[in-house]
Symmetry: C2
Subunit: 478 residues, 2 copies
């Protein structure tokens, strides 16, 4: 990535000033929502609403045109009809802006000549004016370290290490929503829609370079230049974990993708093989994507495949033991038996009745007795064959059968083991009915470096993906 | 099912009196929790705690022994050590009880001779005393119409049509927790653990007979008499939808199942083929089980396979359109194109920019305009090729971008279409961060007969399962 490109990306993720074209007194208009989210997020730079009929919007001095703004403008957010776009571009040239991000749709993705032509004309003008286009037909950028919200959506979340790019604003929005709730911290996110100027490869190149970004995720519906994309992701996978969800893997999905972002999806079999050869984790669903990114964030350099499972902290863990055996082994993980010594030690501290002295281990309802829980986890983690521990923490069950304090004590014990030894721990936290409490407990866990998954299948698949990635690259290095 | 058996099951699901052996002043003891849940649920019959050291527990007169109770006792809940079981059984014989439900574990599932022998002795005594055993090593019965909680867990929920049986109390508990949250109403649930006396076939026979139960679900880890089980479920599937999750489908899971409920799991390939031939929907995970039961409850006699999808009520639905195309068609559903006439009518009312005038349909952010939303749904449902509508209602997105009132108005429109026409509607409600609001909106939907699913994959799989079931039985009838 050359110095000029880098400078352009500085203006994308760290603009010193943003102008919003299309904000008004109507708070439900997207332009206004973009402006409002910038205000709520505490964006540190200058904000300039543009509206010829207003002098002030959301308490900010408002200008009739871009060129009436006294200071410099790095970044322009646009939510006005497509037909007004070229006139605005002339103003952008005159003003010397660096980046224009276009929410407006109605271009190439319509499949009609008019939209295609307009898009071409815009790209031509942007080249002349020496600025870059994000979109059109996109939500845009999320840059939490710079207090830039994701388009109209403000998230209360810390900046972190996950860079994410998406053809779809909706997918990116849902990934951030769920990601923030589950402890994923993002470095940069961009939804780029039609990507008429800067496209997936450009953003990926920047994320590869960006030192804040340690993990790369992408939702793609296709690639204009698949050769360049594959070469690029192969390079990225050598330095950063990368996971890609490719939408349009079926003929029906591929046709839909063409109407959505104007992408040519291509054969899924070829994508699958090519991405795998490039050392990229290719996932099949939204859930697998977010689960894998979460695992990459918490299971750094994990190459293991032997899992220990502890269930039944307050009893009734037998079904979970069976389900976790099925889930883990059917996805390629091992659930190796404990050594005779460990089994003997477990039998000495757990009740004979109601426990299952195997791996998966059912604690037979004594998980609430803290010294027993602690000793049990210690014994299991000390097993030399075990690479990782999944511990079932079913909030509904526990909240119904014990006190809130007892449950926090349980969490304390689990967190302590995360801190005093090196094997990763994953919490299995099924979605039941105690939502508020579950979110609070999960937050305590992920703040301590323990990710939570709702099902054994999803946890196991994420472990498999991360382990595959690091093993693949270890072998490549040999 | 003969009259004698029926009478026994009356005492199981509608006992006139319950005695709890093992309740105490210690509120965290399971015996006490059983009693407390009965009190909280408002159980209408007599409640008799048994404890030789107390005169009153939870405000209820407490008796030293079963035989000291003046009135008749139908049902005994037992949470005392296994070694005291035979003496208690003598009291049960003397008292003439009908049913003994045993939470206590430490019997056949330990794999040890002592436990096996004790279980045999208990069965012998129960035969002599003319009473039946539920368990041991189980949570027991949930009978909401009779205000019986699920063991120590009280649920605020109406009685309904779903009967569920389970080798695992934990699985049954999670199914009820999640089921109640998602609008599943249960007729009867029983977790039967080791099933030393009454076993899966007995309970299934009763659910087949029970007129309150219209849908049957089961979590099984094996069968003592698989020939009887298969014959039975084949008969049930002719009269009621039935879905079975068979735990222990892998060698590791099967070994775990032996330690959990003492079950011999058997080959999964054989189970799969046999259950399918018997007309039973065999599912692979907890999620698929609950999703399928939910679909059976709401999609009565549904045999279709052509889905319409509406996404992007407030914009950003393009990714969801691609994802739903992939999810539906890869699982065997069709997403047929709309007719030219419908496309033309949609184009007349939806914005050209940002919409996708296909199936799946992206409304391009005008879903908040109620007459447009209404007309759009009307046009889509009127398409003759369409059997069912999935409409994406992403609460996080909508709450962030519009008012709560606007969102309720949107729900009103969807509910109205459920009421004025016959094609089923499913809501796609992804898990984001607005949990409380999402639960409230989902409740409004399912109260109106519209189930909600968190992902397109899960919705599509549930539709496929229900449709397969009714088509299979339609062909069998021909």
């Amino acid at each position: 990535m050359n110095q000029r490109n880098l400078k352009e990306f500085e203006s994308i993720f760290y603009p010193r000033s943003i102008s919003v074209v299309g904000a008004s007194q109507d708070k439900w208009k997207f332009g206004t929502k973009y402006l409002q989210a910038l205000v709520e997020s505490g964006f540190k730079g200058e904000l300039y609403p543009i509206n010829p009929h207003e002098v002030e919007i959301l308490g900010l001095k408002t200008y009739p045109k871009l060129i009436s703004i006294p200071g410099a403008v790095d970044y322009v957010i646009v939510s006005i009809p497509a037909r007004s776009m070229l006139a605005l571009f002339d103003d952008c040239i005159a003003k010397g802006v660096k980046v224009v991000q276009i929410f407006t749709a109605g271009f190439r993705e319509t499949g009609e000549e008019e939209g295609r032509d307009l898009e071409k004309e815009m790209v031509k003008k942007a080249k002349e004016g020496n600025f870059r286009i994000i979109g059109p037909n996109c939500i845009g950028v999320y840059s939490p370290a710079h207090c830039m919200p994701f388009g109209p959506m403000h998230f209360k979340a810390n900046a972190g290490s996950v860079g994410f790019i998406s053809h779809s604003g909706g997918v990116a929005g849902h990934i951030i929503e769920e990601g923030v709730r589950r402890g994923i911290c993002f470095s940069k996110v961009v939804s780029f829609g039609n990507g008429c100027d800067l496209d997936n490869c450009d953003y990926l190149e920047y994320l590869a370079y960006d030192s804040e970004t340690k993990i790369v995720g992408a939702y793609l519906e296709g690639a204009k230049d698949s050769r360049r994309l594959l070469k690029l992701v192969k390079e990225i996978s050598k330095i950063k974990p990368i996971s890609i969800w490719k939408g349009g893997r079926t003929p029906a999905g591929s046709q839909t993708a063409a109407s959505h972002s104007g992408s040519l999806a291509g054969s899924d079999i070829i994508w699958k093989a090519a991405l795998r050869q490039a050392g990229v984790v290719k996932v099949e669903t939204h859930e697998e994507l977010i689960d894998t990114i979460l695992a990459f964030q918490y299971l750094s350099r994990f190459k293991g495949n032997s899992v220990a499972v502890i269930a039944g902290l307050y009893g009734a863990g037998g079904g979970a033991c069976v389900a976790s055996s099925d889930a883990c082994t059917s996805l390629g993980l091992e659930v190796p038996p404990f050594s005779e010594e460990t089994r003997a030690e477990l039998k000495a501290i757990l009740p004979r009745a109601g426990s299952i002295f195997r791996n998966p281990l059912d604690m037979g309802s004594v998980g609430g007795i803290l010294n027993i829980l602690s000793k049990t986890i210690e014994l299991v983690l000390a097993e030399s064959l075990i690479d990782i521990l999944i511990i079932q923490v079913p909030v509904d069950f526990l909240m119904g059968l014990n006190s809130v304090k007892a449950f926090h004590d349980t969490i304390d014990i689990i967190i302590n083991f995360k801190n005093i030894q090196n094997k990763p721990i994953i919490a299995l936290s099924p979605h039941g009915s105690f939502f508020t409490e579950r979110l609070e407990f999960e937050k305590r866990l992920y703040d301590a470096g323990i990710p939570a998954y709702p099902t054994f299948e999803r946890a196991a698949k994420a472990i498999v993906n991360v382990s595959w990635f690091y093993r693949f690259h270890e072998q490549r290095e040999l």
